[in-house]
């Protein structure tokens, strides 16, 4: 691992040259006029340059003090190594406590190859060995030897940076503190004259910053490191106590020491000026997308899924992770209660295969107990992991496990910082939060709800001898969203949302809903049958009527025929009668002139 970190490198580089205008964003805004500023030497340490507005005072000594094991030596060493590798400022490390071999070995674990740097004449290591028992004092002395030594080391590589770690050991090794004090004063003046940027480390003393009161001599810049334990967890903090001629962040900032060295979080300097994206990202659940105005969460927004135990918070988180990976995005999943394999197994049971994304490197699950470290350390770790992994989606599951005892304020401020950080990075964040059964549902223990953009509430609905899950949207800033409660079901192919039954009997879910639905179905069936029956009845009536009509018609026809037959006979009879009369007349010689009949009969 050879150090050059991309992030810090690109950032402080421009401010290296004497006009370090870059500042924590909160201060920057209005006062960014080009004022003459103290020349600064960038440390290259993540975050420290932001707090100090560009680095340590160039050409002046800086005191770094703190208790045992708080990271003084490391900070000093990183300052030197980064100076040598990134800012082309070679340095001299004068160690009073550790031999050069030990030092080389110790910092090798941080990826600093001191041997190589020494060979390339970028760094000189000098171990000052003082054994009190070997030394006898006879008369006045001075520390000219140290000056000569340091001077020749500086000259040998043209060093611009010097570290003296821990010069106070001289007090233990040499007699006559009065001479030492005078000589140290001279040393610091001499360092200033040489124009080297120096770090002097000092052990924390009782009531003073350092045991020997070095802060009296080194007064340009004082940084205090602290390593404290509360609630059995430790956290490291850094504070710039004083910085002559420059503004600086005055808070305590958490910092981390890990395999890449030191990183300081200038979190409290973040301002509320992140860009709000209008892009939407799918939740991974179709119905939920629909509920959120059809397209899901806003990119870069913060989503809170809260609910009582076993309501499926993690499942919603897993869906979101799965959907993001499907889009080819990177997802960082912080789990505080389950191990990665447990999460993957559990999600497999609802048909979400997270394993594949882990294999493809799109999903990274980081599982840590909250008690693993202090809040600040957690924050710093997350910061760092997010910076390294560069995810588009971050999931924290669950938040409330951080609450131990009464540290709510601490937890809240930590999440506020984390949230701000995620927002500035345009990372969509999904948090889950377990609400205790007795507590108020619409409230998070750590009170971050007001920071959240979209809040999904999952609740167990107890009715009809069973527990069912209901999902509703408590709020979703900046989008139209459904006001409906949906029944939330975990199936072997993921989460399903169903409409709940809303009727005169109220809201029904689960089997009650199913029963109700079945009842409705039956009622409908019966109604249908009735309608059919009526239709048939009508048909029958019509058929009957039609039959009757046909019969009548037939009867009528018969009568008609009969009638016309009678009429015909009648006529024939009449005719015969008339003929008979004529014949009779003829036979009786009737003189009457029955012309017509005659003519007619002819």
């Amino acid at each position: 691992m050879n150090k050059p970190k991309p992030a810090p490198k690109s950032k402080p580089a421009p401010k290296a040259k004497s006009t370090p205008k870059a500042k924590p964003s909160s201060m920057a805004g209005s006062i960014s006029k080009a004022r003459p500023q103290l020349p600064k030497a960038p440390t290259g340490i993540q975050g420290l340059d932001e707090i100090t507005g560009g680095g340590l005072p160039k050409g002046r000594p800086t005191l770094i003090c703190g208790g045992a094991g708080c990271g003084k030596t490391l900070l000093a060493m990183e300052f030197l190594v980064r100076g040598a590798t990134e800012f082309n400022e070679p340095g001299v490390f004068m160690a009073f406590e550790e031999s050069t071999q030990d030092l080389t070995k110790n910092v090798a674990s941080l990826g600093f190859d001191l041997k190589d740097l020494v060979a390339r004449k970028k760094i000189v290591l000098d171990f000052v060995y003082i054994e009190r028992s070997e030394i006898e004092e006879s008369g006045e002395y001075d520390l000219e030897g140290l000056f000569i030594r340091l001077g020749s080391a500086i000259a040998s590589i043209g060093a611009k940076r010097v570290v003296l770690d821990t010069i106070e050991s001289l007090f233990a090794g040499l007699p006559n503190p009065l001479i030492l004090r005078a000589e140290l004063r001279r040393l610091f003046r001499w360092l200033k004259e040489k124009g080297v940027t120096a770090i002097i480390t000092g052990e924390r003393g009782e009531g003073t910053l350092t045991r020997q009161g070095l802060e009296e001599y080194v007064s340009d810049c004082v940084i205090v490191l602290d390593h404290r334990v509360s609630e059995q967890t430790s956290s490291r903090r850094l504070r710039v106590v004083k910085y002559r001629g420059s503004t600086h962040g005055t808070n305590e900032y958490p910092f981390l020491i890990d395999e890449d060295g030191i990183s300081v979080l200038p979190v409290t300097s973040l301002a509320l000026n992140h860009i709000a994206s209008t892009e939407r990202v799918s939740t991974g659940i179709q119905r939920l997308d629909a509920m959120l105005g059809g397209t899901g969460y806003y990119r870069g927004s913060s989503v809170l899924v809260s609910g009582t135990a076993g309501t499926g918070k993690s499942s919603i988180a897993a869906h979101f992770a799965d959907a993001a990976c499907r889009r080819g995005e990177r997802v960082l999943y912080f789990s505080f209660e389950e191990s990665p394999s447990q999460i993957m197994r559990n999600m497999n049971s609802i048909g979400i295969d997270l394993q594949q994304w882990v294999k493809k490197g799109l999903l990274h699950i980081n599982a840590n107990r909250p008690s693993f470290a202090g809040l600040e350390t957690h924050l710093a770790m997350k910061h760092k992991m997010i910076n390294d992994f560069k995810p588009q989606v971050a999931i924290l599951d669950p938040l409330n496990s951080f609450v131990v005892g009464n540290n709510e304020i601490g937890v809240q401020s930590m999440f506020m910082r984390l949230l701000d950080f995620l927002k500035t990075k345009q990372i969509t964040a999904l948090f889950t939060n377990l609400t205790s059964g007795s507590g108020v549902l619409e409230q998070t223990e750590i009170g971050i709800s007001s920071l959240i953009d979209t809040w999904l509430l999952l609740r167990a609905i107890d009715s009809g001898g069973e527990r069912n899950r209901g999902l509703s949207i408590l709020k979703s800033r900046g989008m139209a969203h459904s006001n409906q409660i949906r029944e939330f079901m975990l199936t072997d192919h993921g989460v399903e949302l169903r409409d709940v039954y809303v009727g005169p009997e109220g809201v029904l879910t689960g089997s009650a809903r199913l029963t109700k639905e079945a009842e409705n179905e039956a009622a409908k069936l019966i109604r249908n049958q009735e309608v059919e029956l009526r239709r048939i009845e009508l048909e029958r009536k019509r058929t009957t009527l039609e039959a009757q009509i046909a019969m009548l018609r037939a009867e009528f026809a018969v009568q008609e025929i009969a009638s016309s037959k009678i009429i015909g006979q009648e006529k024939a009879e009449k005719a015969q009668l008339a003929q008979g009369r004529v014949d009779m007349g003829l036979s009786r010689n009737v003189d009457a002139k029955p012309n017509i009949q005659k003519g007619g009969s002819k």
């Binding site: 070997e134 030394i135 006898e136 002395y141 000219e144 030897g145 140290l146 000569i148």
Partner: protein
């Protein structure tokens, strides 16, 4: 450099016969230029050696301004520093050697008569 004969490195036991026979002293005085302390130290140590170690000592005076690299090699911090290379163990005396008593204790030498 010559090794110390017979006598093992041990703190002073005031037996005159042992010292007379064996010890040969090799001393190095590191100074920085011609500062008053340096000048005093040279004068003082020469006097002490002449009075107590006549004929059985070697004294080198080294100016660190001329050979600054020796400061690191010899672990010199304070100036002037007198290093007793032999007999072992290595001893250091810092200061302008004005306190003869302390120099003698430091060098583990019995005062002559």
């Amino acid at each position: 450099m010559k090794t110390s004969p017979a006598r093992p490195a041990q703190p002073a036991e005031k037996t005159a016969q042992r010292k007379a026979a064996s010890s040969r002293y090799i001393l190095k005085l590191y100074i920085a230029g011609q500062s008053p302390k340096s000048v005093n130290a040279i004068a003082n140590i020469k006097k002490i050696c002449e009075e107590n170690l006549l004929g059985r000592y070697e004294l080198d005076v080294i100016d660190l301004y001329q050979q600054p690299q020796l400061a690191q090699g010899e672990q010199i911090i304070a100036v002037p520093t007198l290093i007793r290379k032999l007999p072992l163990p290595l001893r250091r005396i810092i200061g302008d050697m004005s306190n003869t008593e302390r120099v003698l204790v430091g060098l583990d030498i019995q005062k002559a008569a």
